[in-house]
């Protein structure tokens, strides 16, 4: 049978070869998974959260397994902008990968500097503004939970760079739609949701919090229904294209997000379980669309609202 479906998707100013991306913080800078498959297969690679200066990260333990998921409190360990530009980005470009850089600032100025510097170098297709890392005091969450602060920050970053801007939203709020609208009013092109849900685990032998950072971010299938609901709500609240994520392991999970309104999806925790998750989902999505006689992802995006 002839392969009918065209997996390309458009997200505002961005066109991806397929709608399955690797989520920030789960795929390193791409090299770790290169032995398994060529990273150019990814719809896009969102690299680990990048800060202006190098960040050491949080004290261990940084991980705790939970039912159907895990908590992490890495604390944005990364080499900083300079090393990223000199060492990591050239390596990434050599593979013709669609690179999205996730940026986290300790202040509005740092976000602006990161955006300006990164938009001046070739090889990056978009920036993802991390407004929602729950694991560092200055991980953006202080901006990410206030609508006014989001609108102000996004508009400043918008003025500093010409690259498509993705704003990553936290689920740790009462009304995510309000934040989505704030990001839209600030000039965001695309929204990605959700980041991890803040949680904690107590070590009953010591009676103390298990993680070195005390709290961590919950990811994995445990959070999927929450994330699907939020994508569904935000789809109604804004006109912006959405990237959905939260516990995607199988193609049906990706379909749920797309039917809820996501134009693309990102895979995070599942990469740790099966390094081949992203290429597996791309193929399975192709098979699904063909079997349904659909031309492409457009046929299913937002289906739950029709």
């Amino acid at each position: 049978m002839v392969n009918m479906a065209d997996l390309r998707v458009r997200l505002g100013p961005l066109t991806l070869k397929n709608p399955v991306m690797a989520a920030a913080g789960t795929f390193g800078f791409g090299a770790e998974y290169a032995p398994f498959f060529a990273p150019e297969k990814l719809g896009a690679l969102v690299v680990n959260g990048l800060t202006l200066r190098p960040r050491e990260g949080n004290p261990p333990p940084r991980l705790a397994e939970t039912p159907a998921g895990m908590l992490n409190a890495i604390g944005l360990q990364n080499p900083g902008l300079k090393i990223f530009l000199e060492e990591e980005l050239p390596r990434l470009k050599s593979g013709r990968v669609a690179v999205i850089v996730n940026i986290a600032g300790e202040s509005e100025e740092e976000y602006v500097i990161l955006a300006r510097e990164l938009s001046a170098v070739p090889g990056i297709i978009a920036l993802e503004i991390n407004l929602s890392c729950p694991n560092v005091k200055q991980g953006g969450l202080q901006f990410g939970t206030s609508a006014a602060a989001i609108a102000k920050l996004v508009s400043k970053v918008r003025q500093a760079c010409a690259l498509p801007l993705i704003v990553k939203l936290t689920p740790n709020v009462t009304d995510i739609s309000e934040l989505a609208r704030a990001a839209e009013s600030g000039g965001a092109d695309i929204l990605s949701l959700v980041n991890t849900l803040m949680g904690m685990v107590i070590d009953v032998d010591t009676g103390r919090p298990f993680l070195g950072n005390i709290t961590g971010g919950l990811s994995g299938p445990a959070i999927r229904p929450v994330a699907v609901r939020m994508v569904y709500e935000v789809y109604r609240a804004t006109g912006l294209p959405l990237i959905g994520m939260g516990g995607i392991m199988e193609v049906d999970d990706a379909l749920q997000f797309m039917m809820a309104g996501a134009r693309a999806v990102a895979v995070g925790t599942a990469n740790f379980i099966d390094p081949y998750t992203v290429p597996r989902l791309i193929s399975a999505l192709d098979v699904y669309l063909d079997a349904k006689g659909f031309n492409g992802p457009e046929n299913i995006i937002g289906a739950a609202h029709r």
Binding site: Y33, G57, P60, A64, E65, P67, F272, I273, P275
Partner: protein, 260 residues
């Protein structure tokens, strides 16, 4: 790097310790002492993540890897029920293992409990290099004693310690080692694996002794590949400290460089 390893056999060694034989010819050839397999114990949501297990041996020409593990939680409890003939998806062999230095002898191995597993594999490598090998092995009690003779090359000199004195020296294995050093033992180099307090103790003592010391560490892991940056350990090198990853920078580190 990712393979379906067949469960050839699962054997109970003590009340809570097991020997798992996995058939994976390529991994068996590639694996070196100190490296580990990252095993999906079950295709389930709990246990969910892979679990790292150090390779305890890979007898030449057999295509089989030996894993020795203790049931300590849900994951290992499920693994202890693995059925012969089924397969487990494994990432591996991962990590940087032990690096013996040519010419340095005798090799002193220091093991606490399950930490003996990668040292058994290492002993075979050292035996091939015709080195004198001493293994200092400590467990809580005689009931936890593994039948090490089955896994060790014959020339290894075994020194045993139990916390409760039910077999061998009574007390921590680090104290037994310290006594041997006082008695004139001069290690060419040392290799240690075991509970963190034991490793910390020997690294602390070694500041006075100053022998080359390699330690194999353990941390909670997710990806096993260096991408998630979860299994951090602080390392000091050239006056600067930073977090390194047990999965890909280790699990074996220079004992002098670990910040405990």
């Amino acid at each position: 790097m990712l393979a379906n390893a067949r469960v050839l056999n699962l054997e109970k060694l003590t009340a809570s310790d097991y020997l798992l034989l996995l058939e994976e010819p390529q991994f068996a050839v590639q694996a070196s002492p100190g490296q580990f397999l990252h095993i999906r114990i079950k295709d389930s949501l709990a246990p969910f993540l892979r679990r790292p297990f150090s390779v305890a041996g890979a007898p030449p020409g057999k295509g089989v890897l030996q894993i020795i593990f203790r049931v300590v939680g849900k994951g290992t409890a499920v693994l202890s029920q693995a059925k012969r003939g089924t397969s487990l998806t494994c990432l591996g062999p991962l990590g940087k293992g032990f690096k013996p230095t040519p010419g340095l002898s005798p090799a002193v191995l220091l093991a606490g409990g399950m930490g003996v597993a990668p040292l058994l594999f290492l002993a075979h490598l050292l035996a091939k290099e015709q080195k004198k090998i001493l293994l200092f092995y400590g467990v809580a009690s005689i009931t936890e004693l593994l039948p090490l003779k089955r896994f060790l090359p014959p020339q290894v000199e075994l020194h045993l310690a139990t916390d409760d004195g039910t077999s061998g020296y009574r007390g921590p294995v680090t104290a037994l080692l310290a006594e041997a050093l006082q008695g004139g033992l001069k290690p060419g180099e040392m290799f240690a694996c075991g509970p963190r307090p034991m490793l910390q103790a020997v690294a602390g003592q070694n500041r006075g002794w100053n022998f080359p010391l390699q330690v194999s560490l353990e941390e909670r892991m997710a990806c096993g590949l260096g991408a998630c940056q979860g299994c951090a350990v602080k390392i000091r090198q050239g006056g600067e400290s930073s977090y390194r990853m047990v999965c890909c920078d280790g699990p074996v580190f220079d004992g002098q460089e670990v910040i405990w």
